[in-house]
């Protein structure tokens, strides 16, 4: 391969390193207004009275919106396929507020100062209701009902019981877990809590809307899901889809947080009301309190094993907190099971999940998407089994993990709001990941026996060193649900426009899609002019989520490029009389075995100007029938100060099998970025609320994300495999590696101290408490 598997520089790179590329905030329009949103100070309250008249009269204010002057349409903010597997429980504005930060009203004004002033002039009288500030309180008998509005419904046929604060639930079973536990020589059981966290893209959510020359609404927005934005804005504003155009410029990171219709509806409504361009940009504080979060989850896990370490039974029971609204409530919970349990095929498995409403910040899609939370429980409990059976944790994984040709009934049982899809594992480089990772960290069996070995490099005997590991899987796209399409057309100089609905949010997908097309077409990736995501121009794509772009959209691009290649060869054969069956494309030239060549330039000129003219162009679509998992083994080494509880992460090794790396440097960047994001989650990032449900850690001083200072020694290993169902053998890479830090570090802390950390982040305080409990 000439272009694929090469670390080509990003097609949008030169513009990015010179600051020329445009993000939403870099678009200005004449007459543009600033939009601001008034947030609820209460966790649960009814708006008894609201008076916007003073705000409306303030000079410079052009629109004030609240629940009485906008359409009341129940919808979900989750940017998912249609019909969405998330409850319709959200309104643009409602007379009830359900968490601190919930929308009360919005204004558009000529400056930020005026907009802020206008917000302060809106008079609101609340009737405060009792609030639910913990997931475990949601299901209690006399718990307040958070969604008592009659409109709240689930658009697909799955259980939904808002009267009991249940946003979603599922229960699937394979075999008989009781029988499985009866056969076990060892049963381990624990509750783990995966804590709240948020994405922290460096670019906060931002949207610009304006009416165009034809009276259509244009939305330039920082989104991962432009087509879902168009559909959901149309729904909430009761506009025809044809009246809306969504443009995705450069995006400053998303990580799932921008798979959400967060500002687009209200910004559009402000534009409709004022007939002016309006820009809303979240402050960093709003980004923390009012965007989306990782669903906080309690994962109760029980595993039975024979004395040789073969798993006989697994019971996973998840209580997931979706906060005030049920965005991704069902699917994140389902992914807890579907993206972890198939890793260790077992005859008897039960997976139960209940997602509840609380009066806390709203859950959503976050890189890892349930797998992060469940892998914490599963991988820590596997570690516990290994220690208890005196088997090397690495060996225990080797004994149980899924292999190429293997399958798990969970794939079929557990889908996203419907049954899943049966699948057999194609490529699986996990065994090699385990071996190479172990070698890189210096894993020795003796880590098993001597717990709490004195730290070899230190004279202070309170410093203990420990090793931990875990294995992981994810998926690549949502099978039988997701769809992607691409269009390619040829230009006069033999270059091509590649139009994709796939959404590059910083990942480099424009580049890898250009590489895939260029590989097929025998040209350079710089001959592909990529345009991603303008709903007026590019074909449909569900968007950037579920680790789907390389696998799903990449295959759509490959198919399209193959069509174009056929068209080009046909023309070339006509021009020079060669045999099209034997032709190849290379160096922007069609080459025939008899030595005849026709250049792309000549083909373009021929088809556009000379004879039987037509536009060389094609559009192809792709749906996925399976979701091949990437696999990984992560290893860490830590040093724990048993006197202070401080954990120092010394080394992190991530060995990953993502199939073919279309662009090795970009793939590596995905792994490295995800690992560091996971480290932040495991060690530093935390939502702390006051007793009224207000988020206290709403800036980077108090919610710490990793900086250069926090980095351990890192080693990223990409193991080669070839996924037959993927474009050039590729599967996904973006999400999997965020899942490892929490369990691997917890296991290492256990190895060092004997204390099991079942709740993150592993701050000194929490670790010390766990150590003290041992004494």
């Amino acid at each position: 391969m000439k272009i694929v598997s090469k670390s080509k520089i990003k097609v949008d790179g030169p513009g990015l390193v010179t600051g020329k590329q445009k993000f939403v905030d870099d678009f200005d329009m004449p007459g543009m207004l600033v939009g601001k949103i008034l947030a609820s100070p209460h966790a649960h309250a009814i708006i008894k009275k609201i008076d916007i008249s003073k705000a409306e009269k303030l000079p410079g204010v052009h629109a004030v919106l609240y629940h009485k002057n906008v359409p009341r349409v129940a919808h979900t903010t989750a940017g998912q396929g249609f019909p969405e597997p998330s409850p319709y429980d959200t309104f643009m504005f409602d007379k009830k507020v359900r968490y601190v930060g919930d929308r009360v009203a919005a204004v558009a004004a000529e400056s930020e100062e005026i907009a802020k002033k206008a917000l302060s002039l809106i008079e609101v009288e609340y009737k405060i209701l009792p609030a639910i500030l913990s997931a475990k309180d949601s299901l209690k008998k006399n718990a307040p009902v958070i969604h008592d509005e009659p409109e709240a419904i689930m658009p697909i046929p799955v259980p939904y019981d808002p009267k009991r604060n249940i946003a979603a639930s599922t229960d699937v079973q394979v075999g008989d877990i009781d029988k499985g536990f009866a056969k076990a020589a060892l049963i381990v059981e624990r509750e783990f809590k995966a804590h709240y966290a948020t994405h922290c893209p460096m670019e906060p959510h931002i949207t610009l809307t304006y009416p165009d020359e034809n009276g259509r609404l244009v939305i330039i927005t920082s989104t991962q899901v432009p087509f879902h934005v168009r559909r959901i804005v149309a729904q909430t504003l009761k506009l025809p889809i044809k009246k809306i155009r969504v443009i995705k410029p450069r995006i400053g990171g998303g990580f799932g947080g921008k798979q959400e219709i967060l500002l687009e509806d209200v910004c559009s409504a402000l534009t409709l009301k004022s007939s002016r361009p309006v820009k809303i940009r979240y402050t960093r504080e709003e980004e923390f309190a009012k965007s989306r979060t990782r669903h906080e989850q309690y994962v109760n896990l029980k595993i039975g094993a024979t004395k040789n370490g073969k798993l006989t039974s697994i019971y996973m029971d998840v209580l997931s907190n979706t906060g005030a609204y049920g965005s991704h409530a069902l699917t994140v919970a389902c992914n807890c099971g579907s993206k972890t349990l198939p890793l260790y095929p077992c005859d008897n498995v039960r997976f139960r999940a209940t997602t509840v409403y609380t009066n806390l910040p709203v859950g959503g899609a976050y890189r890892g998407y349930g797998a992060t939370q469940a892998a914490f429980a599963l991988e820590c409990l596997m570690d516990e089994i290994a220690y208890k059976l005196k088997i090397d944790p690495v060996e225990l994984r080797r004994k149980n993990h899924i292999k190429s040709g293997g399958s798990s009934p969970i794939f079929e049982k557990l889908g996203e709001g419907k049954a899943g899809v049966k699948q057999t594992i194609g490529s699986c480089g996990l065994a090699e990941c385990i071996t190479k990772g172990a070698r890189a960290i210096g894993w020795k069996k003796k880590q098993l026996e001597g717990r709490c070995p004195q730290c070899p490099n230190s004279k202070i005997n309170t410093l203990k060193r420990g090793f931990g590991m875990c294995t992981l899987m994810q998926g690549s796209s949502i099978p039988e649900i997701d769809m992607a399409a691409a269009t390619i057309k040829m230009n006069e100089d033999g270059s091509f426009n590649l139009l994709v609905g796939a959404t590059d949010l910083g990942t480099g997908s424009d580049t890898i899609l250009a590489q895939i097309a260029a590989e097929v077409l025998g040209c350079d990736e710089s001959d592909m002019i990529v345009l991603s995501s303008d709903t007026d121009i590019t074909p449909f794509d569900v968007g950037a989520y579920a680790s789907s772009t390389t696998y799903l959209s990449g295959a759509a691009v490959k198919k399209t490029a193959e069509k174009i290649r056929d068209q080009i060869i046909k023309v070339a054969a006509e021009v020079c009389g060669g045999n099209p069956k034997k032709a190849i494309v290379e160096n922007k030239t069609v080459k025939f075995p008899d030595g005849k060549n026709v250049s792309f330039y000549d083909i373009a000129i021929h088809t556009l100007y000379l004879k039987d003219q037509f536009q060389i162009a094609a559009t192809e679509s792709n749906i996925s029938h399976k979701s091949p998992p990437p696999f990984a083994a992560h290893y860490v080494e830590v040093e724990v100060d048993t006197e202070t509880g401080e954990v120092k992460l010394l080394k992190y090794v991530a060995a990953v099998d993502c199939g073919t790396e279309i662009n090795p440097k970009l793939a590596r960047g995905q792994t490295e970025g995800a690992v560091v994001n996971g480290i932040g989650y495991a060690l530093m990032e935390e939502y702390i609320f006051n007793e009224k449900g207000k988020l206290l850690t709403d800036n980077f001083f108090t919610y710490k994300i990793p900086s250069t200072r926090d980095l351990p020694e890192m080693k990223i290993i990409h193991v080669k495999s070839y996924e037959d169902s993927g474009p050039f053998g590729a599967k996904s890479v973006s999400e999997i590696s965020i899942n490892g830090a929490l369990p691997a570090i917890s296991n290492a802390i256990f190895n060092a101290t004997g204390a099991r950390l079942t709740e993150g982040p592993f701050t000194a305080e929490r670790v010390l408490k766990a150590i003290r409990r041992l004494e």
């Binding site: 670390s7 520089i9 990003k10 949008d12 790179g13 030169p14 513009g15 990015l16 390193v17 010179t18 600051g19 020329k20 590329q21 445009k22 993000f23 905030d25 870099d26 994405h199 922290c200 893209p201 460096m202 670019e203 906060p204 450069r250 995006i251 400053g252 990171g253 990580f255 940009r281 402050t283 960093r284 949010l505 910083g506 990942t507 480099g508 440097k665 970009l666 590596r668 960047g669 490295e672 970025g673 995800a674 690992v675 560091v676 994001n677 800036n699 980077f700 001083f701 994300i705 990793p706 900086s707 250069t708 200072r709 980095l711 890192m714 990223i716």
Partner: protein, 150 residues
Amino acid sequence: MKIQLTINSKNKTFDIQPDEKLLETLRNNNYKSVKFGCGEGTCGTCTVLINGKPRLSCITFTAQMTGKEITTLEGIGTIENLHKLQKSFLAEGAVQCGYCTPGMILSAKALLDKNKSPTEEEIKKALDGNKCRCTGYGSIIKAIQKLQDH
């Protein structure tokens, strides 16, 4: 009020509000490479060089910039003529979304201008205030190490 300063070696006069922050002034005058990430001095996306030193423009008053020399990313290279740091960032895959990149490159430039062969520790220290949520920093550090004079 009026203020005179130098931006990317060009003399400029701006009409500003007394409490205006440099981030706003620069963005309002089309230096769009300077990015808003938090507005409260905690993320580094708004980093510019003031008399060669990396500073956070979101917490800097423009009014105090009289006579100062300010460098933004626009001033160090163009697409046709990239600065060596810009080339190195591209080559190492140190740019994902690119939102942190302007600030990162300027912090790196300030470091290399005073220290031609920084150690890994020195690089980490120099970039400590520049947050990146995409790359995990490894490629950024490598991009800078590659430029060291040996």
